[in-house]
């Protein structure tokens, strides 16, 4: 199995005068193609920082990070931007759809950014929207949709570029319980279709829908039962 994420002793800290605030204290993580991983942690554990680093939106001071075949350490902002567009599909807690654009237009954006023609982008986007049951809503604006529908639009947008990694940040955080369950089932289906998913959450119940769980506590990562030992 090919590695999608390979992290070695990633450290991230902020210098605040004399004090050094360590957010990530040497995180090592490996995610293989086809995995469905949940990163579980309370707020303040450093999970958002980790998510930003995995998503190539933030930098770290120490360690090594490979995303598929790209060595993230050596990349400049412009290269990271391209990497995000081609390799990562983002799913955010608050959907982060652009309100002025329709469902279809929102879904097309990653493809248009790549330089694809509108026609091509439209047909690919419609495919994904159909897969997610959003085809009929293609011409609606986000504010005309329910939370679940908006999140499905966001998922369609994440999938449309066929990324190596789906990165979800609290994807059910803004949804009611049953809609949340629905989204999680969708994630399982997408994983069964072969998509690699990394989901960040603070909710154990949500995390349990993933195939594998790692816990992040105080900037350190624990696999499986190690965490309970560490906390004890």
């Amino acid at each position: 199995m090919e590695q999608v994420i390979q992290m070695q002793k990633i450290r991230k800290f902020y210098n605040q005068g004399e004090n050094r605030l360590e957010v990530l204290k040497g995180i090592s993580l490996e995610v293989l193609e086809g995995e469905y991983l949940a990163i579980l942690g309370p707020s303040g554990s450093g999970k958002s920082t980790l998510m930003n680093i995995i998503g190539c939106m933030d930098r770290f001071q120490e360690g090594e990070y490979w995303l598929t075949e790209s060595f993230v350490n050596k990349m400049n902002d412009a290269q990271l931007t391209i990497l995000r567009n081609q390799q990562i599909g983002f799913i955010f807690q608050k959907y982060h759809l652009i309100q002025k654009y329709t469902v279809l237009q929102n879904t097309m954006i990653p493809l248009l950014i790549r330089g694809m023609s509108r026609k091509e982008a439209e047909s690919l986007s419609m495919e994904k929207l159909e897969l997610l049951g959003m085809k009929e809503r293609a011409d609606h604006k986000p504010n005309e949709l329910s939370g679940g529908q908006q999140q499905r639009t966001a998922i369609a947008r994440a999938l449309v570029g066929s990324p190596k990694l789906l990165l979800a940040d609290e994807p059910t955080g803004a949804l009611d319980r049953s809609t949340g369950e629905e989204v999680l089932r969708l994630f399982q289906q997408l994983n069964e279709m072969g998509n690699t998913i990394v989901m960040i959450t603070h909710d154990l119940h949500v995390a349990k829908s993933a195939k594998r769980i790692v816990k992040i506590i105080d900037g350190e990562l624990f696999e499986g039962d190690e965490a309970d030992v560490a906390l004890a």
Binding site: H96, I98, K100, Y101, I113, G115, R118
Partner: protein
């Protein structure tokens, strides 16, 4: 593991524009508000250039009968010297063929009264009152002065003495005598003042020698007295009770800035006027044309020297010598100054408009921080985001510019109602658009650049 090649096609410009278009269509009202500054600015430029050009055209029209090389000599009076100080350009000068400094002040006012320059025409008339014999005139110009100037000063294409004043005129459809400007002139006067004839011919040398009672009448005056310019020809008028045959009618010359328009005058032979009309109260003036326009000031000096020789015991300021070039120049330059002033006003309007755009763009960037964050997270490059915001600013200014240009041209007839001469200039639309797009792009750049420089996570987490 091999390092993966990270290259991809840039976002297509057409697609960027499409997104910009969606953005604009989704916030039409805001776009309109933003472009208001540009609309006002472009319209101002159109109007300002039209008013400025109108001023220049007006000056050109007023002086079109004026020969650039012409020099006018009159005997000074105190009043006339005062006129020079008060009246500014044109005072006491044959602007458009007729001397400003004539006893025909009333006429001067009548023809000039409706015009911007009416005031200076009035001054011209006032200055000439001395010609009626009331002022302390030191000297009187004579035909021998004319001949001496012609023979002693080289480089003059023609020299002509003339006299002008107000006389009572009757005839045609007139029910009672009226006072009109009557000028006694030589045959050269026609060419010197660029007078065109509608019918008949101008005063000839024989008319002068014979002191014939013939007259050439101006277009407007012909209409006043005979109903139409054509019916005047061949008829006769009475001047100071004597009958004059009308041998020519002038074409319409248009109004002049100072003095009396040829349109409102009657021309008779100089000798005839001297003998029958003005007699001893005559105040002749001499007009000369310098062959070389650049030598006008030298010629003035030489003419003064000849006159000083002829009239002993007078001070140099006894002669009031003016030239058309400097008159024209000062009139044109004051019109140009006005244009410049107006342009500065327009520039200020644009800067204010530009700051308006910048403000709205800043607010818009702030409002859309999250959108920028989303685009960055999804992989939009700095360049594309910058381009997107810049295109938006450019669109707004193009839209504002077009609307401004249209409303500027639409407002021109309205400004004309105020009596100003307004001449639309096609090129002003181009300037206006350049200014509009320039302002929009320059002032839109900084906010756009700020937007593009935002970090994706910063932008995303901002509410």
């Amino acid at each position: 593991m091999t390092k993966q090649k990270l290259s991809m096609g840039q976002m297509r410009i057409g697609e960027i524009m499409h997104l910009v278009w969606i953005n604009i269509m989704e916030s039409k009202f805001k776009v309109f508000l933003t472009s208001l500054g540009v609309i006002v600015g472009s319209a101002t430029i159109i109007l300002v250039i039209a008013v400025g050009h109108g001023g220049e055209v007006e000056v050109q029209n007023e002086y079109k009968t004026l020969n650039a090389g012409s020099i006018n000599v009159a005997a000074s009076t105190e009043a006339q010297m005062q006129d020079q100080m008060m009246g500014g350009f044109g005072g006491g000068f044959p602007g458009g063929g007729m001397p400003g400094g004539t006893p025909g002040g009333a006429n001067g006012n009548r023809s000039g009264g409706t015009r911007r320059s009416g005031g200076s025409g009035g001054f011209g008339g006032f200055g000439g009152m001395g010609g009626g014999g009331t002022g302390g005139k030191a000297v009187t110009l004579t035909e021998s002065d004319e001949q001496d100037i012609a023979s002693l000063v080289s480089g003059l294409s023609s020299v002509s003495i003339y006299t002008t004043g107000t006389s009572s005129v009757d005839g045609g459809d007139l029910t009672e005598e009226t006072d009109e400007t009557v000028a006694g002139v030589g045959s050269e006067y026609q060419e010197m003042c660029n007078l065109d004839l509608l019918e008949g011919e101008f005063i000839t040398d024989e008319d002068n020698e014979d002191k014939s009672k013939v007259a050439v009448i101006g277009y407007t005056l012909a209409q006043t007295i005979f109903g139409s310019a054509y019916s005047a020809y061949g008829d006769s008028v009475s001047i100071e009770g004597k009958k004059y045959e009308i041998v020519g009618v002038l074409n319409e010359m248009g109004s002049v800035s100072s003095g009396t328009s040829p349109d409102d005058s009657i021309f008779v032979p100089y000798q005839t006027a001297a003998k029958y009309i003005y007699g001893k109260s005559a105040d002749p003036q001499i007009m000369a044309i310098a062959s070389d326009v650049n030598s006008v000031s030298d010629k003035i000096t030489e003419i003064k020297a000849v006159l000083m020789e002829n009239h002993s015991n007078v001070k140099e300021n006894a002669f009031n010598v003016t030239d058309a070039g400097s008159t024209l120049e000062s009139a044109t330059s004051s019109a140009k100054t006005l244009s410049m002033l107006l342009m500065i006003v327009a520039a200020i309007v644009f800067i204010v408009g530009g700051i308006g755009i910048m403000n709205v763009m800043f607010v818009s960037v702030k409002e859309r921080t999250q959108e920028i964050g989303i685009l960055k997270a999804l992989g939009s490059s700095k360049r594309v985001i910058l381009l997107q915001f810049l295109l938006e600013a450019t669109f707004i200014s193009v839209f504002g510019g077009l609307l401004g240009v249209l409303s500027g041209f639409a407002l021109i007839p309205l400004v004309r109602l105020s009596g100003m001469t307004v001449e639309p200039v096609a090129a002003s639309a181009v300037y206006s658009m350049i200014f509009a797009v320039g302002t929009g792009t320059i002032f839109g750049f900084y906010p756009a650049w700020k937007a593009a420089a935002l970090m994706p996570i910063e932008a995303l987490t901002q509410e």
